[in-house]
């Protein structure tokens, strides 16, 4: 242990010892003085402290706000249209709860101080009063209705259907990183199947690029049926990247959120949004980015500013480092960027030239249909 550590512990021990001695002494003093007098004295001190605490507390609230407000997201405009609504809702809620907070806390500590014990006073026998009770049942109920009303109005706006022209991007969480997928020229995401995932073959999402028969394995690694997968041509032009999610300023985007292993969460703090990534159950979220990354650097006066995607759902020991990036760019920049991207299929099979591909027809989903039958087929395989 360091010397400072020992020093700090020594101070703590000493402080404790002093408190203990005073505590013991005060007990003797109270015996000498008479319990009544000792009680009156300590009651006065605690009563005074109530008001001191109230005043210092209120000053502390303002001081804390002054110190920390600039470090929150509220110091800058929200980066999405939904976020603007959320900020409005936040201010309405702060205003209403703020009033209640100050009124009730002031009353609490003021009453405690004002009605502290005194020989002269008799407590007022006041067991109930229906009018008062009805008053403070209905007023909170009405106030909360206002909050619910505003809240649900915005909630349905945020969770409503994305505009038809929204760009679609798929984001998939894994321990511990994010995978982004764009649908490519055909504007259709190709089918994928989690048993096709093969990091070694550049297929981190399990896109169904080739016809294949997959042997299912049970918990003891014994084969238990097969699945026939048909290649989905729609997947051939899908762009898969781990670098960043590129979005266009002012264009609505719909995220299709997936997870490959455990539950993650796409946390977009600057856009004021988040949505869980649940394995086996895709979720969605849409919004319109309002400022490019470059504009945001100026707004926040932080040249290193980035729209970071934080994983907001505990996902394992690397949870804290599961960072993704969103680059909001202009339309032109986006087109340039996309032109430079190679479909994942081409990266995985460099011999296939995308220029020779036929336009992709939307293939029927063969996965689900055959999977059900396959499981029922007798298995003739021997144990490995």
């Amino acid at each position: 242990m360091t010397t400072t550590g020992i020093f700090l512990l020594a101070i703590l021990a000493l402080g404790f010892l002093i408190t203990f001695q005073i505590a013991k002494a005060s007990e003797y003093v109270s015996v000498l003085k008479g319990e009544k007098k000792a009680f009156e004295q300590s009651n006065k001190i605690n009563g005074a402290l109530m008001v001191v605490f109230l005043v210092l507390g209120l000053i502390g609230v303002f001081w804390c706000n002054k110190l920390l407000y600039g470090k929150t997201l509220l110091a800058h405009p929200s980066a999405s249209d939904h976020g603007k609504n959320i900020d409005t809702m936040l201010y309405i809620t702060i205003a209403i709860t703020g009033i209640v907070f100050f009124v009730t806390q002031i009353l609490l500590f003021w009453f405690a101080y004002k009605y502290q014990h005194s020989e002269k006073r008799k407590a007022f026998y006041f067991p109930h009063n229906n009018k008062l009770e009805i008053l403070w049942t209905t007023v909170p109920a009405i106030t909360l209705c206002i909050l619910v009303g505003f809240g649900l109005m915005y909630w349905f706006r945020i969770t409503g259907d994305a505009p038809a022209n929204a760009m679609q991007v798929e984001i998939t969480g894994k321990q511990f990183g994010w995978i982004y997928r764009y649908p490519g020229k055909d504007n259709t995401f190709g089918k994928k199947y989690y048993r096709m995932i093969d990091e070694g073959k550049n297929n981190q999402l399990g896109l169904t690029w080739i016809d294949s028969t997959i042997t299912k394995r049970d918990n003891h690694n014994n084969p238990s049926g097969t699945v026939d997968i048909k290649a989905d041509p729609a997947s051939f032009d899908d762009i898969v990247t781990n670098e960043a999610m590129y979005l266009v300023k002012g264009e609505p985007v719909k995220l299709i959120i997936n997870s490959r292993d455990v539950i993650h969460d796409v946390g977009l703090s600057h856009f004021r949004l988040k949505m869980d990534a649940v394995p086996g159950t895709p979720t969605t979220m849409w919004f319109t980015p309002l400022y490019t990354t470059a504009e945001m650097k100026e707004i926040t006066k932080n040249p290193k500013f980035e729209y970071e995607i934080s994983c907001d759902q505990m996902c394992g020991n690397g949870h804290y480092s599961m960072k993704g990036l969103i680059k909001v760019v202009t339309k032109e920049e986006f087109i340039l960027w996309r032109a430079k991207q190679k479909p994942a299929y081409v990266t995985a099979f460099p011999d296939k030239d995308p220029a020779n591909k036929l336009p992709a027809p939307a293939a029927a989903d063969s996965t689900k249909a055959t999977a059900g039958n396959a499981a029922k087929q007798p298995i003739a395989a021997a144990k490995p």
Partner: protein, 606 residues
């Protein structure tokens, strides 16, 4: 079954004792050390066992928070002495990610379940229900004893999980699968999770055994004249707590059993389409990870009220006694407790707004969640009115009860933010949530518990706790609690996610490093002061100032009509009869009128 029959098992004693109760002694059976202090069936001893076990857990859980606050406050420093204590969990004097997550998880589990449920309800339901209802003991003292020992067993299993090779469970106290189901996804989900589930299962059994006992005692063993509407609010609160626990804990257990099947029996209740790095695709298909969250939060939300209601009940009682005024709006207080109990079952999905829950379903839960604020508001205003025009004695118990009200307001109001799905989508899983629930159910429930301990310690041990240390304890804890958790709201408003080991790599969240240091320092001071309380507690058991009067607080309730150190059976001779409600303070010019005093025909009505 009558009280006498419960205690002695021979109902023939009951009928005759009115005539010659002077000869009726409470202690017929001889007690050995084992039956008196270890396998005791006396509700008061069981309460003390719960309390001391809970305190031990609180120290362990608190120490865990100090350790991870050390990491959060000083991420760039090393503490070589940590390696001496924790070994490979703090290689080179820095807490590893694995250890950090284990600490966070255990801190949550221990404090929510073992301290604030087991320790709080277990202590005060056991201690107060028979004494304030006027019963000799619980309806089933044997079940009551089992309840403690299941709690103890669960504690031992949970504690042992800290020492295994792969470490304790580290996936957060909510234990969401797939993370909690797959050992390959996180080392803590290996044996550590099996022990965690085992311990929790034993805990659930303990709380069911206890809860059934509390309910049947309150319903069946009230003394003559003690109608339900004459019960002190503590009993009402503990009664509703037990109802909540009995109805919701089984659902949690069922969720855990399905999780156990997924872990070991190859089922797919919660698992689907999973590919684990380094392992490959798992065979599970068709499960829903969200199902667990529904099962978990169906307990998880009532759990919040299981923690909070006893604190509310005790605060109500202690405020009234020390304000020397009746609690304002007794029936409204009972009604709001009832409303909270009902609503507690109907709001669980507000923890799941961002799981992809159907937005319409989400909107129903927004409405129901914000409805809970109405009974909560009624309670706050009633407490305020109780101390209005009072004559307040700042006993340590009273101070903590006042602190409870202050914290309940602060933490309750931020619940209005989080219960609103529009704001939750922004604030979910940030430090705002940490601040909210630590204030409203962590610290404020602790304040309720401290209030209870200071107030009923004289009844438990026949001695007082030292007041000077109590005052220091109160003021440092109150100020410290606000200093720790108030600024966290701002971190939450910056979107700073919870459960991160290190924020320095994040451009969006690294601006709070000074604040984190400050919070950690205050947390350590507050923890040290809690140790002083623990010292005060054990010191005063043996050396505290002795209680010399039967009713030191001038209280109306029945426990103060029992001897200063009641034996098993609580009252020598007959159980007192009750003639009035529990809150006749400062009525008709009298300081207080005990519940046992018959109504005087000239008395004013309330």
């Amino acid at each position: 079954m009558s009280n006498e029959a419960v205690l002695h098992g021979h109902p023939e004693v009951v009928t005759t004792h009115e005539v010659h109760h002077d000869e009726h002694h409470v202690h017929h059976h001889k007690e050995t050390f084992i039956t008196k202090y270890v396998f005791s069936q006396d509700h008061k001893m069981i309460a003390k066992q719960f309390l001391i076990t809970g305190m031990t857990w609180a120290i362990i859980g608190g120490l865990m928070s100090v350790l991870f606050r050390l990491q959060l406050g000083y991420p760039d420093q090393t503490f070589p002495w940590l390696e001496d204590i924790l070994g490979r969990w703090a290689k080179g004097g820095k807490i590893t990610a694995e250890n950090y997550y284990a600490l966070v998880t255990m801190h949550g589990t221990v404090l929510v379940f073992f301290v604030l449920t087991g320790g709080l309800s277990g202590t005060f339901a056991n201690f107060l229900i028979p004494l304030q209802c006027g019963a000799r003991d619980m309806a089933s003292p044997f079940m009551n004893m089992l309840s403690y020992w299941f709690f103890f067993g669960g504690s031992v299993v949970m504690l042992s999980s800290l020492f295994i090779q792969t470490g304790p469970f580290s996936g957060g106290w909510t234990a969401y699968p797939p993370l909690s189901a797959l050992g390959d996804a996180s080392p803590g989900s290996k044996t550590g999770m099996d022990l965690w589930i085992t311990a929790m299962a034993m805990f659930v059994i303990s709380s069911l055994l206890g809860g059934l006992n509390y309910i049947s005692t309150v319903l069946n063993l009230r003394t003559k004249g003690m109608s339900m509407t004459r019960l002190p609010l503590t009993i009402w609160a503990l009664f509703f707590t037990a109802v909540l626990g009995v109805l919701s804990f089984p659902v949690l257990l069922s969720g855990f059993i399905l999780l156990l099947f997924d872990r070991h029996a190859g089922t797919s209740f919660y698992l689907s389409d999973i590919y684990i790095n380094g392992v490959g695709a798992l065979p599970n298909e068709g499960g829903s990870a969200i199902l667990f969250q529904h099962l978990f939060w169906f307990l998880g939300h009532p759990e919040v009220y299981i923690i909070l209601l006893p604190a509310m009940g005790m605060a109500s009682e202690i405020l009234s006694v020390n304000a020397r005024k009746p609690i304002f709006g007794y029936m409204a207080m009972v009604g709001s407790l009832f409303a909270i109990t009902i609503l507690a079952f109907l709001v669980w999905a507000h923890h799941m707004f961002v799981t992809g829950l159907n937005p319409f379903l989400g909107s129903v839960f927004v409405l129901l969640t914000l409805l809970i604020a109405v009974p909560s508001a009624i309670k706050v205003f009633n407490w305020l009115t109780t101390i209005w025009k009072a004559n307040i004695r700042f006993t340590p118990g009273m101070l903590f009860a006042l602190g409870f009200v202050s914290l309940f307001i602060s933490g309750g109001l931020t619940g209005i933010f989080l219960g609103n799905s529009t704001l939750d989508i922004h604030l979910h899983d940030t430090y705002f949530v940490i601040a909210h629930f630590h204030i409203v159910m962590g610290v404020s429930a602790f304040f309720g518990m401290f209030a209870g301990i200071y107030h009923w310690f004289p009844k438990m041990y026949g001695r007082y706790l030292n007041s000077t240390m109590a005052y220091v304890h109160f003021w440092v804890t109150l100020i410290g609690a606000y200093l720790i958790f108030w600024p966290m709201h701002y971190e939450g408003l910056a979107g700073m996610p919870r459960r991160y080991l290190d924020y320095s790599i994040w451009e969006s969240f690294k601006q709070f490093s000074d604040l984190n240091k400050f919070i950690s320092t205050v947390a350590m001071i507050v923890f040290a002061v809690q140790l002083m309380f623990v010292f005060n507690f054990f010191y005063s058991i043996f050396k505290g100032r002795k209680v010399t009067t039967q009713n030191p607080w001038g209280s109306t309730t029945l426990e103060w009509t029992a001897p200063i150190r009641p034996g098993h059976g609580n009252w020598p001779g007959e159980i007192p009869e009750v003639h009035r409600w529990a809150y006749d303070y400062s009525k008709d010019g009298r300081d207080f009128i005990p519940q046992t005093e018959p109504i005087n025909p000239n008395e004013s009505k309330h």
